[in-house]
Amino acid sequence: MKKIIAMALALVMVLALVGCNGAAPAANNAQDSAVKQVIKEAQGMTLEELCKKAIEESNGATFYGVGNSSRGKSALPLFIEYLQTIDPNYTLNFEWQQPKNNKIFDQLTADSLKDKGTFAVTLIQDGNQIESKMVKTGILDTFIPLDWANANGVKADEYNGYLPLQTLNKVFEYNCTGSKTFTNCWDFVAEGEHGLFMDVDSEIVGKNFLYMLTQEKYAGYLKEAFDKLPADKQAYFKPVIESLEADAKDLGLGANGAYALAWIKLWVENYMAVEDDGPICNTLVSASATDQFGLLVYSKLRSVEESDTVSKNNIKVAAYQDGFEGIGGYGYCHYMFVPDNSPLPWTACAFIAFITCTVDGFSAWGKDMGGYSSNPTVAAGTEEKYGHSKGGMNEAGEVEFECKNDRGYDWWVNNGKLVIEDPAYCASVAFTVGSWIEMLTKYKPE
């Protein structure tokens, strides 16, 4: 009898606890509209006006942010200082979380189930998942600051995209202590080459890069680069391209789709997976990594210290070399969003406006090379303040580390043929091109 009672009680408790999980986010309608209304109003306000609203709303409160970048933690004290120039008595406690392993989406989804969320703001990457998991589901709302809209020549209420804080670039770099050079993006997938790259399953934006290559514009870049290869190299790639024409057609890709699929296939089947861009950078700048190359976040070069066997001069940025053909890397964005149940929507909007519309606000990211503000005014101010284009020069104005002279966003997009992430496109091919990529066998050293 006691066992039956115990089992029954246990079952009831288990089901009750599990039952809690079933709650859908639909119950948030009132709060949703409140945050959206705040955003609507905020989009017509200047930074100064927004800050006053933020002070009213959050003085003495705690502001929770979650993001893929840890720099939000550095930006928040600057924001508080800025608010204190308006009201010296203003205080704000804050906590910034940086989940790993794609957990940010689970965390935001779980938080969205509450009437009033924990997170006031988020800084998030991976356009594909943002589109399909966060925006289409109504979990995150976009706020476009007035000053940002003006600087970009758009109207906030008519702007359809997300708000990028910055574009980061991952670029092809190679160790130059040997004699090998890479003059064409197809050289990175040539026979026997094994570039260092964060595994696409570890960092999903890497997968987005591959998706983007299938967009006709970038597939066209690959075709152009292919056409400039010498005949012997073309002969190696040609059969692979031809064998994938049917797949390109099945996947609904454009005229140059097979070139994209061939490059992707050869890349996935040959890249050497590394846990993070940091170790890739550490490897490439070492004298012993002769002829190795990788596709990694450009800004990692900032932290390399010169020693007897490690030097920034041991590497070259492929796209900076004369005569380089084809894509030089890819760019992805850090987007700013306000959760639809943000507990401090005015403060979130003011914070977003502060970091996207002022050089000081952006300085947490802008002080380092390889991150480009989406606000042209801030980008120019950041370059003026930090001089990243001359980051590799010594005080005498001589080039000390060529790879550190960051040529800037415009150069990278126009000359460096940076592949730029398009969230909508990524989401549209995630389960067509994406499944095709999953079928490829990844490289293992033998």
């Binding site: 408790m13 289409k136 570890s202 012993s288 390399v304 499944s435």
Partner: protein, 609 residues
């Protein structure tokens, strides 16, 4: 009618009295309460994760297949088991996982078993030192050996990376199968769990009466036959226990295969989770099924097992094999070298790493130039200037690291206290009702989470506690709850084994004297079995200190040291991860020493020396 009424009343009274009698025994109350609590904490996450396998997740494959954004579907099962990606997403990782777990068991049993035999049954020299040092790999986070492996054996020629120590200093390049994949993963996990085998097998070897072996010798039985027909069968229970513990742990290990580039169900879970969330949950369920299967297999073995009594009422003696005058030193020296690489070298390597100018930059070793060393990773007090530290402050000033350290201590102490207490009570109650089915059920349900792969348990609790009413992600509460559930078996097993040794007469004498239960526990039972009970508190504490797989999905870095360590390791900031490793090792050693001095209990107690 007149007789019926008193009968009913009597029956009611009898029932009431029975109930009173039942609950007057504390062990019954303990079993009832803990049985219910543990059923909930074990079964609810399983149900939650099972539900997740049929739920539709926006932006993932199930939503794409069904065209819906909510509701339920079996699309995840169909796709995982039958689609073109089934081989890469399911069958290969599954096979790899089974191979990894099996080989890890073999490595740990052979290495730990041979070592246990040498320490307990031979006249091996340096026993005391070797016994203490042997358990170090278990104290260290498991993936630190994987990182050491990489630093030692990687080379530009084979792994297309910078040269590791062996390649750069001795120009020796190891083959790919040695550097990455199944072999190094199994070796690292085998070495990490070898202390399990050592402690369990060593315990039996130490208590084993040598009369049986001597009888065989007198009967002129060949050595190999004695070993296979007498010695090995005697240690079979310990081998089975080791398999039980290592298989489940190795199966749920995420960081080791991740660092050594080997695809298992754990690593696949992480990689599938973004676009195939429901399918990833099925992988977690599969891992859990293995846990349950191991438990059932163990139950069957227990039922069919012959008698393996090692301690009898007769006087026993331990005879030590003579390794010879030279042999005892040579074999001792060999083990000193081996344990140097598994236990000491990692610590030296961690310490050295914290003084390198760049992660993995061994310029100092090649040049002898002290300019190639730095103390910046320890003493940099600001993060404004670019010091080649990726915007981090030095470890002595790094608030993230010290906050995480505080968090780790909090979680570990809380888990140790709760798991230790609950486990001890279970051990006590089960030993008092050892033939009772409910007691067996409680004992098994308490042990089940240990056999479930850590990552799967973490996933299950994340899903369970991420809802509208209870959202515990990134809270110490969640870590403590999960840690407690996972580590109760350490305490329950330690407690049960020791309680079973305790004669009932001791407590009965106190009951006759009408001494209350609390007093009986704290004045009689706990003092007698303090060593085992303290082990039941120490093991959760030490395991929790460096646990990653279990907590990986439950909190962000900066909350506890292991996730912070993993974060720095992945970022390639090996100076920080190595420094954190040192902090963890020193902490564990200090606690172990203090507990050892105060109570006389330690992990390798009674085996070595």
């Amino acid at each position: 009618m007149q007789t019926a009424a008193p009968t009913r009343a009597m029956k009611r009274r009898i029932r009431l009295n029975k109930l009173k009698t039942f609950f007057s025994k504390p062990q019954n109350l303990i079993l009832l309460i803990l049985g219910i609590v543990l059923t909930v904490t074990t079964v609810a996450p399983i149900i939650a994760i099972a539900k997740d396998t049929i739920s539709i997740h926006p932006g993932t494959i199930d939503a794409n297949i069904t065209g819906k954004t909510e509701g339920y579907t079996f699309a995840n099962y169909v796709d995982l088991f039958t689609s073109r990606t089934a081989k890469s997403n399911l069958w290969t990782p599954l096979l790899n996982t089974v191979l990894l777990s099996t080989i890890s068991c073999v490595v740990s049993i052979i290495f730990g078993g041979v070592f246990a035999f040498l320490v307990t049954r031979t006249n091996l020299k340096f026993r005391k030192y070797l016994s203490s040092i042997f358990i170090f790999p278990y104290i260290m986070p498991q993936w630190t050996l994987a990182v050491v492996w990489k630093n030692l054996f990687y080379s530009n020629a084979v792994t297309h990376s910078a040269d590791g120590l062996l390649a750069s200093v001795f120009h020796i390049t190891m083959p790919a199968w040695w550097c990455q994949g199944l072999f190094p993963s199994a070796m690292v996990l085998g070495l990490h769990y070898a202390p399990f085998a050592y402690i369990l097998i060593g315990g039996i070897f130490r208590n084993m009466d040598a009369n049986l072996e001597e009888a065989a010798t007198i009967l002129d039985t060949p050595r190999w036959k004695t070993m296979f027909r007498i010695t090995l069968p005697m240690i079979k229970p310990a081998i089975l226990s080791t398999v039980l513990l290592v298989f489940g742990s190795a199966m749920g290990s995420y960081p080791v295969p991740h660092y050594l580039n080997f695809q298992t169900l754990s690593t696949k879970y992480i990689s599938l989770n973004s676009s195939r969330t429901g399918e990833a949950s099925i992988l977690a369920i599969i891992m859990m099924v293995f846990g349950v299967a191991i438990l059932l297999a163990n139950q069957l073995t227990l039922k069919s097992r012959k008698s393996y009594t090692t301690v009898t009422g007769k006087s026993g003696q331990i005879s030590r094999f003579n390794l010879g005058k030279t042999g005892k030193y040579v074999i001792g020296a060999i083990f000193i070298v081996i344990t140097f690489f598994t236990s000491i070298y990692p610590i030296i390597s961690f310490a050295f790493e914290t003084f390198l100018p760049n992660p993995g930059d061994y310029s100092f070793l090649y040049t002898g130039n002290v300019q190639n060393l730095t103390t910046k990773w320890w003493i940099t007090a600001e993060n404004v200037t670019e010091n080649g530290m990726y915007g981090q402050q030095g470890m002595l000033y790094n608030k993230t690291i010290w906050h995480a350290y505080g968090g780790t201590l909090l979680v570990s102490v809380a888990c140790a206290l709760t798991a230790g207490t609950i486990g001890t009570l279970i051990g006590y109650a089960v030993s008092k009702n050892r033939r009772n089915k409910w007691a067996n059920y409680v004992n098994n349900i308490a042990f089940l989470p240990y056999l479930m792969p850590s990552i799967a348990v973490g996933v299950a609790f994340f899903i369970l506690f991420s809802n509208k009413y209870v959202n515990l992600f990134n809270t110490y509460w969640l870590l403590i709850i999960v840690g407690t559930v996972k580590y109760i078996p350490f305490a329950s097993r330690a407690s049960l084994n020791s309680m079973l040794q305790l004669s009932g007469e001791i407590e009965e004498a106190a009951i006759i004297q009408d001494i209350p239960w609390f007093k009986r526990m704290f004045r009689i039972i706990v003092p007698i079995q303090k060593s085992s009970i303290i082990s039941g508190f120490m093991l959760p504490f030490m395991t929790c200190l460096r646990e990653l797989s279990l907590f990986l999905l439950l909190c962000t870095q900066g909350y506890i040291l292991s996730t912070t360590l993993d974060y720095f390791d992945e970022m390639g900031l090996y100076a920080f991860s190595s420094g954190i490793n040192l902090i963890l090792i020193v902490t564990i050693l200090i606690f172990n020493t203090v507990v050892n001095k105060v109570t006389g209990a330690s992990l390798d107690e009674g085996i070595g020396g």
